[in-house]
């Protein structure tokens, strides 16, 4: 018996997460990530209204009224933004808070008049344990319908996300597209807020798409990442919430997704915060090491005033410099070779600036200080060819030959 119940819950969670992640992709790509949050709060009065009229929060009146009120809210956000020029997020906040308050006022009326409220208290925090087979059926139908819609109209989604103006000019019915997307999102949220709660449904709408888009704007990768991460989070959350009955399933799902996506935000190659930081540090070290080498090349046998200079320590680990008995720092054979390369790049660039770009010779040094770190081997070779392998720079210092 327990295991059937568990299966119900997990199936419900997975369906809800799949639906939300899928519907979240177009919304996210239109840069309307917070619309989901606004919508999930704004449909609240619709749900309360349906309970008032029909006496329960299960069944079609809830979906119809949630859909209508949600569409109205999104229409109002758009209208307020266009007519009054209030920034979009301001308009979103206004509609969210006013609709939600109206819903709370209605709910207060209902509570006082003693009408049975069904499971309406779950709208705020959600409860997957109260999932009925009928709800599961509706989620299943929505999931099939949503997948069909998405894969049929996929081209529009990418086109509109890529360039809304271009999409309009190439014949995409933009108004109808927005209308269908908004109504659909409202419908999906009405179905899922009773399982996951308002705020947490909004999170499930947004985070999978955000993770997918962070990893790659490539549609295939984006869709796969979004759907897989949402489903994985749902399975985890379903298991845990089945064993701890009081736990909010939606909250667990969102936390799972957080732990799934945050490492990517930190560690993803080239994009992750930590990775970018490490790359910046490495680059800074390279520059400082190269400067140290160049300095020692120009004035050898320097007694370092700073005993524990990190750049000298790194270079001596690489056996590019060594310290003699008097505590003086010298370049080793390899060190001299490396330093010559940097000096060569520096002086070649100075020559180029002076000869070809006609920069006065007392103005070329600063720019060469930067370019010596940026020129790669091929550029250096081409530069030397271009200048007919000069032997000295504008200040008449010798340019070390390439070895």
């Amino acid at each position: 018996m327990i295991s059937t119940q568990l299966l119900w819950i997990i199936a419900g969670c997975v369906l809800a997460a799949y639906l939300l992640a899928l519907s979240g992709i177009p919304t996210y790509l239109r840069r309307e990530a917070l619309t989901g949050d606004a919508l999930s709060h704004a449909i609240f009065p619709g749900v309360v209204l349906a309970v008032w009229i029909s006496g329960s929060n299960a069944g079609w009146p809830t979906y119809v009224s949630g859909m209508l009120v949600g569409s109205l809210a999104l229409f109002l956000i758009q209208t307020i933004h266009q007519k009054t020029r209030i920034p979009k997020d301001g308009a979103t906040g206004i509609v969210l808070i006013v609709f939600f308050s109206a819903g709370l006022l209605l709910l207060g009326r209902l509570q006082r008049s003693g009408i049975p409220l069904g499971g309406i208290q779950h709208v705020l925090l959600g409860k997957a344990a109260t999932l009925l087979p009928a709800d599961l059926g509706i989620l299943g139908i929505l999931a099939i319908l949503g997948s069909l819609l998405f894969f049929v109209f996929q081209k529009w989604v990418w086109l509109e996300a890529f360039d809304a103006k271009f999409a309009q000019h190439s014949g995409l019915p933009t108004f109808a597209y927005s209308f269908v997307l908004n109504t659909w999102t409202a419908l999906v949220l009405t179905a899922t807020i009773q399982i996951l709660g308002a705020v947490l449904s909004a999170a499930m709408l947004l985070t999978p798409a955000a993770l997918g888009h962070f990893l790659s704007p490539n549609p295939k990768i984006l869709i796969r990442t979004a759907l897989l991460s949402a489903i994985a989070a749902a399975v985890f959350a379903g298991f845990i919430s089945a064993s701890i009955p009081a736990m909010s399933t939606g909250a667990l799902m969102v936390i799972m997704l957080f732990f799934l996506s945050f490492p990517f935000f930190l560690l993803y190659p080239e994009k992750g915060i930590l990775m970018k930081w490490i790359a910046r540090k490495k680059e800074a070290r390279r520059w400082s090491d190269e400067n140290t080498l160049k300095f020692l090349f120009n004035s050898t046998g320097i007694r370092s005033a700073i005993q524990n200079n990190p750049s000298l320590r790194r270079l001596s680990n690489k056996k590019l410099v060594h310290q003699n008995n008097q505590g003086e720092w010298h370049l080793t054979q390899t060190g001299i070779k490396n330093a010559e390369r940097i000096v060569r790049k520096h002086r070649l660039w100075e020559t180029f600036l002076h000869q070809r770009l006609l920069v006065p010779e007392d103005h070329v040094h600063e720019n060469a200080e930067l370019m010596e770190h940026l020129l790669d081997d091929e550029a250096e070779e081409r530069l030397a060819q271009e200048l007919n392998h000069p032997s000295s720079d504008p200040h008449l210092s010798p340019i070390p030959p390439r070895k």
Binding site: A33, P87, I97, I255, F258
Partner: protein, 288 residues
């Protein structure tokens, strides 16, 4: 007297919200208040664990810290991971909210925090909550004291940083070129906002606080053409909707918080219809 104390507390919150709301609206960060109000939750639970009370100074500090760190993290992810601002807002506050909920449920029945008190607050109890230290501090209710301190912090900030604030609110780019640290000003505004949100939340609940931060500022922005007018009008809208909404709530036996926000929403609707052309050619507009 009771009504006066409630209105005085609400008035001070309206003052803070008029300032914070205006700055954030002009910097296109209005949804940050919503996010910061949700992110209060984990701090609230942790503070409750430390102090055992629902509104001690520890709770206020922890809640404000958690609210501020959400704003900080949102900016951080936006800046360093390149995630769109709206997306990073949604990601951070929903995650913190979820953590808060899981903390509450893990602690089981030990926590006396329910959805009702978080949403509605206890506006009607405001005049009855005293510090009970039997000193001069008992002269005024505790929520009013909280509002006074945070209001004072806002006033000091305004007094010393008015020009920088004004510059920052309209043109962060120019602000940087003029040698004013855009980040420092933003963080100070967000820190004060998080304090206001927490003390407001403690007295009136989440709905009213978010409504206060967004609606009066937006209404005032529609009507006004100068800074002083904008702040004055948003203060008046905040006070007016408190008075009217509270009276309606008493008369019809509604929940006071949602009633006040709904009235403020009606004010906004009226202003939007009456002044919709006002903004079209005005230069009093936010920039990126």
């Amino acid at each position: 007297m009771m009504t006066f104390l409630i209105l005085a507390t609400a008035g001070l919150l309206a003052f803070q919200a008029a300032l914070g709301g205006s700055f954030l609206l002009l910097r296109r960060s209005a949804m940050l208040t919503d996010a910061m109000a949700h992110s209060v939750l984990p701090g609230l639970v942790i503070g409750y664990l430390f102090s055992g009370s629902r509104s001690g100074p520890e709770v206020i500090l922890f809640a404000a810290a958690s609210s501020f760190s959400s704003a900080y993290l949102i900016d951080y992810l936006n800046k360093f991971a390149g995630i769109w601002f709206e997306a990073s807002t949604g990601f951070v506050f929903t995650s913190l909210f979820a953590i808060g909920i899981v903390l509450i449920t893990t602690l089981g029945g030990n926590v006396d925090l329910d959805a009702d008190c978080v949403l509605y607050g206890e506006l009607l109890y405001v005049p009855f909550r005293y510090s009970s230290t039997h000193s001069w501090y008992d002269a005024l209710p505790l929520p009013l004291w909280n509002q006074i301190w945070v209001g004072l912090a806002w006033a000091l900030f305004l007094f010393f940083r008015w020009k920088q604030l004004k510059t920052w609110a309209f043109d962060a780019e120019f602000c940087r070129h003029a040698g004013i640290s855009d980040h420092v000003i933003r963080r100070l505004v967000l820190a004060l906002t998080s304090m206001s949100i927490v003390v407001g939340f403690d007295a009136f609940g989440a709905i009213l606080v978010v409504g206060f931060f967004i609606l009066p500022a937006a209404t005032a922005w529609l009507i006004s053409r100068t800074w002083h007018a904008m702040i004055l009008i948003s203060l008046l809208v905040g006070l007016g909707s408190t008075g009217l909404g509270y009276s309606l709530a008493l008369f019809f036996d509604w929940e006071p918080g949602p009633s006040i926000v709904s009235v403020a929403g009606l004010f906004f609707l009226g202003a939007a219809i009456a002044f919709r052309q006002n903004r079209a050619n005005s230069t009093f507009r936010p920039t990126h």
